[in-house]
């Protein structure tokens, strides 16, 4: 039994008016405190000292002195007419594009050089419906390559042909940001990708048109991660999953996102034209 006073933050948040308030999450005494960063990632240093300035030179767009940028006007469609209901009615979005407003592409300057934001690793384990072991094995694999506990997701609906049952745990995701993302990307680009056999590179058609590039890895590619390679015999060979990796960047076009990734070292290949 300790006699000295030891501050313990409250276990539950009881509202803003409660006298016993928990400390902010970045306070060490907080229960939500997460330590870090632990290192200066090498890829981040490369980005700061080499990639960022090269991207700035590569993405330069010339603006005529005194002319400025072309004003594209208001993208929203306002309600024009005599109806009193048009007063203060929120404007409609632009035509096409499923009603979504696409991000405005501004010329690249020192303020908005594209950078890596997030890497999302996702794996779908259909066999987990019958045998939970597949899910545990996949979870441990994702945890060892990413350093984070994978989040489990349930199937939203039942599909007879795929063997999917509603409510069953079937997929795993890990979201990586900051230091962990840079370490993961460095491993992926410098260790795993060069060892993948008969792989032409990431498809140039990949991307969601707003600067996020996705790629897929097969089970045999995942075993190339050094954390999996050291104890490969601990994973049952048939239970190693493949995965999808979505790389989110701050670029607003796929072209600039691809440029960023290729400066980092991701190989891209052109689409093979079908005859």
């Amino acid at each position: 039994m300790t006699t000295s006073y030891k501050y313990r933050p409250p276990k539950y948040y009881r509202g803003p008016l409660h006298p016993h308030q928990p400390p902010p999450p970045d306070d060490i005494s907080s229960r939500e405190f997460i330590p870090g960063p632990f290192t200066q990632p090498r890829l981040l240093e490369t980005y700061d000292s080499v990639v960022a300035s090269d991207m700035l030179a590569l993405c330069y767009t010339h603006v005529i002195p005194g002319e400025g940028l072309k004003d594209r006007g208001d993208r929203m469609r306002h309600w024009v007419g005599d109806s009193p209901y048009y007063e203060n009615r929120p404007p409609k979005g632009p035509k096409g594009g499923h009603g979504r407003l696409r991000p405005i592409h501004k010329p690249i300057s020192f303020k908005n050089i594209p950078e890596l934001r997030k890497a999302v690793i996702h794996t779908h384990v259909p066999d987990a419906v019958e045998n939970r072991g597949y899910l545990h094995s996949a979870s441990m694999l994702l945890q060892s390559i990413s350093g984070h506990r994978a989040e489990v997701h349930k199937a939203k609906m039942s599909v007879q042909e795929w063997g999917a049952k509603k409510g069953k745990h079937v997929s795993l995701t890990v979201e990586l940001e900051g230091e962990d993302m840079y370490h993961f990307m460095a491993k992926l680009v410098e260790i795993v990708m060069p060892q993948i056999k008969d792989w032409p590179g990431v498809s140039r058609g990949s991307g969601d048109s707003v600067g996020n590039i996705s790629l897929g890895l097969r089970p045999e590619d995942l075993t190339l991660f050094p954390e999996v390679e050291v104890n490969l015999d601990m994973y049952p060979p048939d239970k190693i999953p493949g995965c999808h990796i979505q790389i989110q960047t701050s670029a607003v076009t796929d072209k600039e996102a691809r440029l960023l990734l290729s400066t980092i070292g991701v190989p891209f290949h052109d689409k093979v034209k079908k005859r």
Binding site: Q40, E45, S49, A57, Y60, H62, I64, M234
Partner: protein
Amino acid sequence: MAARRNPSSITSFGSAQTVHQSICRSCSHTIRRRYASTAAAVAEQPTSEAPAPQEAHQLLAGVILSRPPQITRDLHPFEKAFFLYQKRLNERLALPFTRYLYYKKKTPNLLDFRKKLDQRKTPARDIGNYSAYSEHAWHDEPMVGAVEGEIEDVKEKLLTDEQPFPEDEDLDQVVAMEEKVIPDAPMPRTTEADKAGDEKSLNRLLQRTLYLLVKDGKGNWRFPSAPWDGVKKETLRESAERIIRQSAGINMHTWIVSNHPVGHFERPYGQNYITTNEAGATVKGEVTFFMKGRIMMGQADIKESELGVSDFKWLPKESIKEHVHPKYWASVDDILPSR
């Protein structure tokens, strides 16, 4: 320098446009196309103003050829202490090490791991002897002058960890551990060229960007540069590639990063050197447009230099300042990344 007087490389800015005197030819062309209709209306009105005297510059292309940093920078002592402290905090808060995912039960490797774990008290191998669950867990800051967290210490700890435990006398275990591949020690962060102070070597100052600086015929240090070839109408990128070839030889694999220049340096001529070119414009100075280049392989070779280069050096940013003219430095200072 006879080449500087070459009239083919002298051009005037905005020679055809009286409205946009200060902008380049491609810009004025764009404006002319964009406002074709309004320009036609304007053109009908007779202009009574006399054409302004034309001014021109001698155009030069320059190459800022650089070798990017090869290794990470040395950490500041505060950063080292901070990272070590955060790692030790993490030992206290993270999930326990999943030992049986990495070591099978009843194997020599697990026995070896256990013995080493007993010694250093924690699964992490780079935070020194620190026990996160003992009654001394609060004692997580290193003492003054402690070597924990220093790169040399971490390197040694990691290498020692790869070796079998010294007290192991069990023959089976030693045999099993011998099959393990022991990694080599990492290369040193400083090289022979660093010790010798060899400024021509590319294998030095691995943490810094090195820039190629050449000594021209007059004995001035500057980035490789030469007049733009107006006869061939070459692009700045082609000029840059030609200048690298002509001044520092063909023994380098280089990459010109962009088609655009990253900066410029303007040098006005003295009163006695101002001339008039064949178009009737006054050539009042020279402008060097710098292109950005990276060296991938090879080394500069000035033996057969066509541009009269007599010496070269690979220098970090602050050393360039000591070699070049202050006005030259003022125009390139902001182009060069500081690391």
